[in-house]
Structures are given as C-alpha cells and as structure tokens.
Amino acid sequence: MLTATAVFALLGLIAAAPAAGQAPGHYYNVDKEVRIEAKVREIVFEPRYKGTAPFLVLRVENSGDGRVFDVEIAPSWFFGRDIHGGEKVAIVGSLAEMPGQTPTIIARELRLRGETYQLRDKHGFPNWQGGPRGKRGIRRLGRT
C-alpha cells in the first residue's frame, strides 16, 4: 500500500513538474505577441529556466495604462548592455500570463536609446550574443 502511494505521489509530482524546469505555458507563443512602450522601473538578474544562465529581467510600466510587466531580455545582457531604471523602451514579445503572477513578456525585439535589438527571430529562437568579451577588436585609426 505504501509502495502504491509512493508511486502515485511520484507520478503526481512528475505530472505537475513543468517541462524543462519552466512554468507551463511559459514559452514563445507567436500567437500571443504584443508590443508595448514602457518605462523601466527595476532591473533584476534571476534564474528563469533550468539549465540556463540567469536572465536579465526588466520590470517595466506600460506608458499607456500603467500596467506592470516583467520582460525577459537575455542571459548575456546583464554584462553586455547597461540599462537603467527610468529609461524608456519599446518591446515586442510574447505575453505569458499566469494567475497571481506579474505578466511576463518574452522579448523578441527591444528598442532602447534609438537602437533596435533583435533578441529572437520571429519564431522565438534566441539570437543574443555573449558578454563583455564582445567581438575581437581590430584596431583601426589609432583609437586604442
């Protein structure tokens, strides 16, 4: 009896566990793409998916209705770019809403300081680069 209970409990846990360590429904759904213009309120660096580096997450306030979203940017961006609280951003991404949680936008495109960054392709495939190592610096015009 105890064995059967343990097996059912284990099966229940397996059924309840999100795939690949992520919340159910938390994936790039092209049918749920939204575009918002917002102001950055907070910047945090936190784990989002099992087996990946922590993500740079922007907590933003929608300029239109004041709604708050968490925007997932990319793991490498914490060092690669300097984003500050108070900056205005425009985001295109997939909206994932879970009851009782702050709605999350998985960003595909970010517009910041007049520049547009393609973080994912239109199907949601990641497209980000590494950290501050950047590209190999070829010295030109003696600017080093």
Partner: protein
C-alpha cells in the same frame, strides 16, 4: 605557410560548424575597406582590404563558448593578409538579484603571410568583472584583464594587464553621466637587440642589417626597405633599441575618462567624452613606432601614449531601422621613449607627439537577421616626426548576418 597554419585551425572550424546544431548562433560578416594610407605615414600607400569572419556563440547553462575565425585579404600589400582565430569561454555567476561576476578565458592566434610573419602571434587572456546596480539608475563595474602573447619576432613578446572601475548615473532628463578610471601595465619580455660588435652608422638606430626585422620606416640611414629616396612601402612598424644585456621593459599608465550622453526625443542621441592618460611607469622600449590601418601592431597600442582625447558623437535613429552616426575626435598624444626622427634619418631630440583630427560617419540599415552599412572616415595627423604628417580618407562597407539555430520556446 598559410595553408600549414590553416590545417591547424580546421578542427576549430569544424567545432564552430557543429556547435550551432546544439542551439547556438552563428555570425557571418564581410567588410570591404578602402584606404588611401595603409601605413599611415606621409608617403601614402593605398590598399583595399576584404575581411571575412565566421563566429559562433553557444550557451551551456551559465557557461558560454565562443569562437571566431577571420581572414583579411590585402589586395596590394598581400603580405599583410592575415588569418586569425579566437576561442574562448565565459562564466556568469550571480551575486544576488542586482549583481553578478563574469569570468572569461580565451586563446587567440594570428597568422600573417611571410612578409609580415613577425606579427604572427599566439595569445591567451583572462578576464574577471563584477557589475552591480547601486540603484536602479546607477551601475558600478570593476574589471581586470590579463594578456600574454608570443610573436614570431620575439621582440614583441609581452604580458600585460589592465584594471578598471566605472560608475554611471542615469537621470530622468535622459542624461547619462559616466566616469571611468583605469590602470594598465604592459611588460615586453625582451624588446632589445644585443649591442652589435660594430656600432651602426647612426647611433641608436637600426642598422642596415636589421632592417628586415624592424624599422623599415626610416632607420638605417637609407638602407633596406626604408624610404631614403624611395617610396615608403611599410616596415614592421618599429625601430628597436640596442641594449647590452637585453632584459625586459615595462610601461604603465593610469587614465581617467568622463562621458555625458543626452537623448533628445526618440531619434537623436548626443554624447561628449574626454580621456586623459598619464604614463606612470617606464617608457616605450622601441625607438620609433608606427600604426597601420586595420592591423594590430604590438608596438603601438593603448599602452604606448600619454595625453588626452576628446570626442563628440551624434546618433540619428530614422524610420525603417536606419541609423546614422557621426563623430569627431581630437587627440593630443606623446609617446614617451619614442624619438622624433628627421627625414634624413637623424634624431631631432624631441619625444614624438601627434595631434589628430578624426571625422567619422556611418549609415546602417538593419533587417531582421542582416545589417548592412557604409562608413567614411577622414584623419588629419600632425606630428613632431615628419614621417607621420599625414591625411587620409577611409571608406568601408559590409554586412553582418546572424543565423540563430537555437531551441524554440522560453529559451
């Protein structure tokens, strides 16, 4: 020679080709350069450069693996054509929700054709950095980087490191202020030639026998590949010193810089910055140094000068993902240990000092996976060394194409 080196790189290429299949990203770029003054001296030598590069980036948990191979072909001065490869990995370690450490290690190789084989090198570097948000609008960064490189011409072998600290603050007026401080030290392991049995004709300058090694520019009293009545065709960009007993030589600097940036509406960005640098230890071990366009010359780099530089920049973000950037930079730099040398090959008794005006403009159009651009630069350089009185136009165009091949979904 080149094919022999490429055989060593092929395994790296195969790794680079295979990794994207596991979820990484591949970057393919091509740049075409045109310069009126490849060696950046008064005797301008034109050239065209075609640069191809293939890079990949693969994340495995908090670890990233990066690699790049590049080939740059010089049309006229084919001896400067170079094959380069970089391989590195980095690791991100969170320290709370607002901070993180970043560690990176890498190796690189550059392989020039026989004429400029002295520049061929193998190197390794380590990097450690810490970044934290002091407040949501203020960032503190601390970074250390160490480098070791060995060259085909051992006079260039060096080890060096830099440590830097920066702090910035963003204001609601869309103004960003940033301050940086840096300390750097570069130690050339054996930059001197042994004293020859017979002194050169002009004391302190490379003799004709050494022209192939250094100082094709103006040493040797007109011998070798220098100019002495001939058209300058580029040497190895330096003239070594003769020191009995040899030994190493180090040069260290501290620098500070300030930047102010202002956003105007959604389309205009303005910035102004200033850098001041002091040499605080040692001096350049070489008697004369040169900069080449597009070529990393180990005798002339960010460690070799003191002075200041000011810069102004304008960025316009136009519809249809078109951006325009323009900039102006003025620099006043002296090179401690480097002598000004007259066109007759005799020292002028002055430390070399260069003043430079640089104008730049760039037009870029971004597509979803492709960026194309054209850029133009103009340099007007005056110097206490008459060889380095020069002006030149540069035109460049190219594209970068990224090919993501990652997993679909939340990651």
């Amino acid at each position: 020679m080149m094919f022999k080196e490429m055989r060593r790189i092929i395994p790296l290429l195969m790794i680079g080709a295979a990794l994207p299949a596991w979820g990484g990203t591949v970057y393919l770029a091509f740049n075409q350069h045109s310069t009126q003054n490849l060696f950046q001296t008064k005797d301008a030598v034109s050239d065209q450069i075609s640069a191809f590069s293939l890079a990949f980036d693969q994340d495995v948990s908090a670890l990233s693996l990066m690699g790049k191979v590049e080939y740059s072909a010089f049309r006229q001065t084919s001896g400067l054509s170079v094959f380069a490869a970089d391989l590195g990995l980095d690791y991100l370690v969170p320290a709370g929700r607002k901070s993180a450490f970043y560690f990176a290690a890498g190796g690189s190789g550059q392989f020039y054709r026989q004429t400029y084989d002295a520049f061929s090198s193998l190197g390794a570097n380590l990097l450690g950095a810490f970044k934290t948000y002091l407040a949501s609008s203020s960032i503190l960064k601390i970074q250390w980087q160490g480098t070791y490189a060995v060259f085909k011409d051992p006079l260039f072998d060096f080890m060096g490191h830099t440590a830097s600290l920066s702090i910035d603050k963003y204001f609601p007026s869309r103004t960003t202020l940033k301050a940086d401080a840096e300390y750097g030290y570069k130690y050339f392991l054996h930059p001197f030639l042994p004293e020859p049995v017979e002194q050169p004709i002009v004391t302190g300058l490379a003799g004709p026998g050494q022209m192939g090694m250094g100082g094709g520019g103006q040493g040797g009293g007109g011998g070798g590949g220098g100019w002495g009545g001939q058209r300058y065709a580029g040497g190895y960009g330096f003239i070594p010193r003769y020191v009995s007993g040899g030994g190493g030589a180090g040069i260290g600097h501290v620098s500070t810089s300030f930047l102010a940036a202002q956003g105007l509406g959604d389309t205009v960005g303005l910035s102004a910055s200033a850098v001041k640098q002091w040499i605080v230890q040692g001096e350049n071990p070489f008697q004369s140094i040169e900069e080449f366009y597009f070529v990393q010359n180990p005798s002339a780099d960010s460690f070799s000068w003191e002075g200041y530089q000011i810069n102004g920049r304008l960025t316009l973000s136009l519809p249809w993902d078109v951006s325009v950037k323009g900039g102006y930079t003025y620099s006043d730099r002296s090179f401690p240990g480097v002598e000004s040398i007259g066109l007759d090959g005799l020292p002028l008794g002055l430390v070399r000092q260069d003043r430079r005006n640089l104008f730049e403009a760039r037009l870029q159009k971004d597509f979803r996976r492709l960026s194309v651009f054209v850029s133009y630069s103009y340099v007007d350089n005056t110097s206490t060394d008459p060889l380095f009185q020069w002006k030149s136009h540069y035109v460049m165009g190219g594209f970068e194409w990224n090919l993501p091949a990652g997993r679909k979904g939340g990651f």
